[in-house]
């Protein structure tokens, strides 16, 4: 499901502009080229990536490494802060030409481009790569459904069939994509990992055990499922503005315990851990290893969804009461301090965010007003209404659920907690039959565009299953606004109007946001933390920037 797709999958590794503007002054490629060349490092992830196949991969575990293996036609500048959100040509020669009606995107594949196994890249590989996404029940399918003929292609059930809206010419390298309706965010779609090119003979099946060659500074040379995978630097890779990488071999080990990972990074047995250190060790790490540890804000939002179809949240006053009562400073403690309060659905760092100052519900980082909220619930005659709070068993989510359940009880509702396994959480709350009244959503940006957030409260996206809008918000102003603004290719010109939609989300209490999570970089002592640790706004820690001292 799309809404929860963010919570479960997508990039957990997204930075925000403001905090690193200073760092962003020198580009990633510049920094990377200054790093010491060569050497091997060992890094750790907590669980096996969902896939090592660009058509399917949709978690931070997979996007972070695969970004360096499968370059899409477009990509983002390897830099921190706002600079990193800039679209640049990847496998394409230049940014696409967009027709006046906003429905046709044309670009040319670079001449002489080769995959890591030496196979020349062809324009038709793009269509094949998109077909694989559409065939493999990928979470990224929704991104390409706007292509003319994509739905018909899926319905035909023939993998070798044609997608009418994609025309390619292998001789000239030209690719033309026709959309059924204008979509101003489609350039960003062309920069996602899902659009990462693979050869046309790549089978229509999950290739995690034997990842196909790609175009990028690294290739995956070895995969031992649930144990490790190895990335090796590709000789001869050369695309302007994409760093060639410094480290020769990057071995990713699957180490389930974050505590063990943190201790191994301290001891130098691991060079980097992808997850934040556990709260248990975070304070010590912050204090003793500040020369190789940093926290960075993400392009994400965490909120409680409030189902408008079910009491008591069908009453705006009750929804407002929840917003009034929330104490982000309490929740921040459950994140080990790695949470910044929010009063918007669109996070800081993405154009089109509402700047609500003051926030109508009080200081987003300050305490809530439970007495006032309780009174509001009383006035709404909702005191004693039964509420089931949904959360999952990932990381600190259960503790947040316990906090939230207690809060709802404090304001006069009769709340109980239901903890669902993280693997099925999004499906559970996204199924209308569950009748989920409220619960936690963590949403990370697929790309730096407000649509990826506002669509979670767009009535047109409501579905019986995999519902991307678990609050079931039906607000004509938002639905019409999204329909009107989405086709606009120049985001800057309509950022204010997106912000107005964001403001309406808050003023109408459609959801109850409580903050944006911060993630971390923690490197071993032998890594050059000062010069070689770039955090990209969308893809997190950029391995191609890593280098040894």
């Amino acid at each position: 499901m799309t809404a929860i797709r963010g919570s479960l999958t997508v990039l957990a590794l997204v930075t925000m502009a403001a905090a690193f503007t200073a760092c962003g002054e020198s580009s990633g490629s510049d920094q990377a080229s200054q790093g010491k060349q060569g050497g091997s490092i060992t890094i750790a992830q907590t669980s096996q990536p969902d896939a090592l196949d660009p058509a399917i991969a949709y978690t931070s575990n997979s996007w972070e490494p695969l970004w360096l293996v499968y370059t899409a036609p477009l990509t983002y500048r390897r830099a921190e802060g706002t600079e990193g959100a800039e679209l640049i040509p990847g496998a394409a020669e230049a940014l696409p030409t967009i027709s006046k009606d906003g429905k046709t995107y044309s670009f040319k594949i670079r001449k002489g481009l080769k995959y890591s196994d030496g196979t020349p890249v062809k324009a038709s590989d793009f269509e094949h790569s998109v077909k694989r996404v559409l065939n493999l029940e990928s979470g990224g399918t929704y991104l390409f459904e706007g292509i003319d003929g994509a739905t018909a292609y899926i319905e035909s059930g023939d993998p070798d069939g044609d997608i009418e809206g994609i025309a390619t010419d292998d001789k000239t390298g030209e690719v033309t994509v026709e959309l059924t309706a204008p979509d101003g965010s489609f350039s960003n779609v062309l920069a996602t990992n899902f659009a990462g090119l693979v050869p046309s003979n790549t089978p229509f099946s999950n290739q995690t055990k034997n990842p196909p060659p790609g175009v990028g500074p690294y290739k995956i040379s070895k995969v031992v499922p649930n144990r490790e995978f190895v990335m090796e630097k590709v000789d001869g890779f050369d695309i302007p503005d994409i760093p060639k990488g410094n480290i020769d071999t990057i071995t990713t080990k699957i180490v389930q315990s974050p505590s063990r990972q943190a201790q191994d990074v301290i001891a130098g047995k691991l060079d980097y851990m992808q997850e934040p250190p556990p709260t248990d060790l975070a304070a010590e790490i912050k204090a003793r290893y500040s020369d190789r540890y940093k926290e960075w804000p993400t392009l994400s939002v965490s909120y409680f969804f409030l189902n408008h179809d079910l009491p008591p949240f069908d009453d705006k006053e009750v929804r407002e009461a929840v917003n009034v009562a929330i104490d982000s400073s309490a929740i921040a403690r459950l994140f080990g301090g790695r949470l910044k309060g929010a009063c918007s659905l669109v996070p800081e760092g993405i154009p089109g965010r509402a700047e609500l100052d003051p926030c109508p519900y009080g200081d987003p980082d300050g305490p809530g007003d439970t007495a006032k909220a309780k009174q509001m619930v009383e006035e709404a005659r909702a005191t004693g209404e039964k509420v089931t709070v949904y959360t999952n068993n990932d990381s600190n989510r259960q503790e947040i659920g316990e906090y939230y359940t207690g809060l709802l009880n404090d304001i006069g509702l009769d709340a109980e907690l239901r903890v669902v396994d993280g693997a099925v959480y999004s499906d559970t709350i996204g199924n209308q039959k569950t009748k989920a009244q409220t619960g936690i959503v963590n949403w990370y940006a697929d790309f730096p565009h407000p649509a990826t957030f506002i669509q979670q409260v767009d009535g047109s996206t409501i579905a019986e299953t995999s519902n991307p809008n678990p609050s079931n918000v039906r607000d004509a102003e938002i639905t019409d606004g999204v329909a009107e603004l989405l086709p606009e290719p120049d985001l800057d010109t309509v950022a204010d109007r997106w912000a107005a939609l964001d403001q309406r989300v808050i003023e109408e209490s459609h959801i109850a946001p409580f903050g944006s999570e911060e993630l971390t970089t923690f490197l071993s002592d032998r890594m050059d933390f000062e010069n070689c640790a770039i955090v990209h706004p969308l893809y997190g820690n950029d391995y191609s920037s890593f280098c040894l001292k």
């Binding site: 556990p278 709260t279 309490a330 403690r333 994140f335 503790e399 906090y403 404090d410 239901r418 396994d421």
Partner: protein, 323 residues
């Protein structure tokens, strides 16, 4: 005139000081659990489920965060409020420990009672009627027996965790503790029903049973009036061990997230939460872990004593303590 087996057993048990001491320990634990509301209201002044992440308490004259800004909860204060410190949500660990004891013991005792009831019924019916009834009961027990206890408990617990249970008029919500009771009771039935069935098979060939049959006693009277009284000592020997096993399984299920649903405390889910904080807040895992060890140890030692009291040969046979 000779003494009844019960009197003899009680005499032997009275002489077993170690078993009695551990039995007394269990009673103390139960009393502690019963006193949880008293401790919560009169001593700690904290509700077991009320979170307090941003609260402060006075320590040595200065205000201290119950949970620090980077999420580390305060440790044991050894006084009424936060006697054993706070958890990540700022709740009083001592209060939750006592309330957790209520839940753990309640589930353990209820599950053991239900197991005993079901196992006795199945063992009696299967052993008495024999033939296809016995074959059916034995096969069913074998199927349950074939699954490791934890695995079966987790499978059943997970299946019922979201939707609850609805069989005819019986309807249990997903968070109901009765579900845990049912799950634990069911998975342990074979462990008790099989020996009872074996006992019944032996008893039904005895003279007093033949005599009752010759007098025209029906199946119900035979089972209730003749066989059941002779099974009592077996059941009594099993009971404390069943309670100990049920408490352990409840803790395991709650640890794995399919037992008592938070924010309701149980020792299992408290240990689960504490494992993540072993470095900065070891009290979170140690306190409930210690309670669990003490409870199970108390029940096991007392259970051994009861077994030895009813069957002195067993201690000689196993080379265990002498009464």
């Amino acid at each position: 005139m000779g003494q009844s087996p019960w009197r003899l057993a009680l005499r032997r048990l009275r002489r077993d000081r170690v078993s009695l001491a551990f039995g007394a320990l269990f009673v103390v634990l139960v009393l502690g659990a019963l006193a949880a509301p008293l401790w919560a209201s009169a001593v700690a002044d904290r509700d077991p489920d009320r979170t307090n992440e941003t609260g402060q308490i006075e320590v040595d004259g200065s205000k201290v965060d119950v949970v620090s800004l980077d999420g580390v909860p305060i440790g044991p204060q050894w006084r009424g409020e936060y006697f054993l410190g706070a958890d990540s949500n700022g709740r009083d660990v001592m209060v939750r420990l006592l309330y957790g004891a209520r839940n753990s013991l309640l589930i353990g005792l209820a599950a053991a009672f239900l197991t005993t009831l079901l196992a006795t019924l199945v063992g009696l019916v299967a052993g008495y009627f024999g033939r296809w009834v016995d074959a059916l009961a034995r096969s069913t027990l074998d199927v349950i027996w074939a699954f490791p206890v934890i695995l079966l408990g987790v499978a059943l617990g997970t299946a019922l965790a979201v939707g609850g249970l609805k069989i005819g008029p019986l309807e249990l919500g997903a968070g109901s503790m009765t579900i845990s009771v049912l799950v634990i009771a069911i998975v342990y039935v074979p462990y008790m029903a099989r020996p009872i069935r074996g006992e019944v098979l032996a008893l039904r060939e005895r003279e007093f049973v033949e005599a009752a049959r010759a007098q025209g006693a029906g199946p119900l009277r035979m089972m209730a009036g003749e066989l059941l009284p002779n099974l009592t000592s077996t059941i009594v020997v099993f009971a404390p061990l069943m309670v100990a096993n049920a408490i352990l399984l409840e803790a395991a299920l709650s640890f794995l997230g399919v037992g008592v649903v938070p924010p309701d405390p149980s020792w299992g889910n408290m240990i689960d939460a504490g494992v993540e904080r072993l470095v900065t807040a070891p009290h979170l895992a140690i306190a409930p872990g210690l309670m669990l060890v003490l409870t199970v140890l108390a029940l096991n030692v007392f259970g051994d004593g009861v077994r030895d009291a009813f069957d002195p040969r067993s201690s000689a046979a196993w080379g265990t303590r002498r009464p």
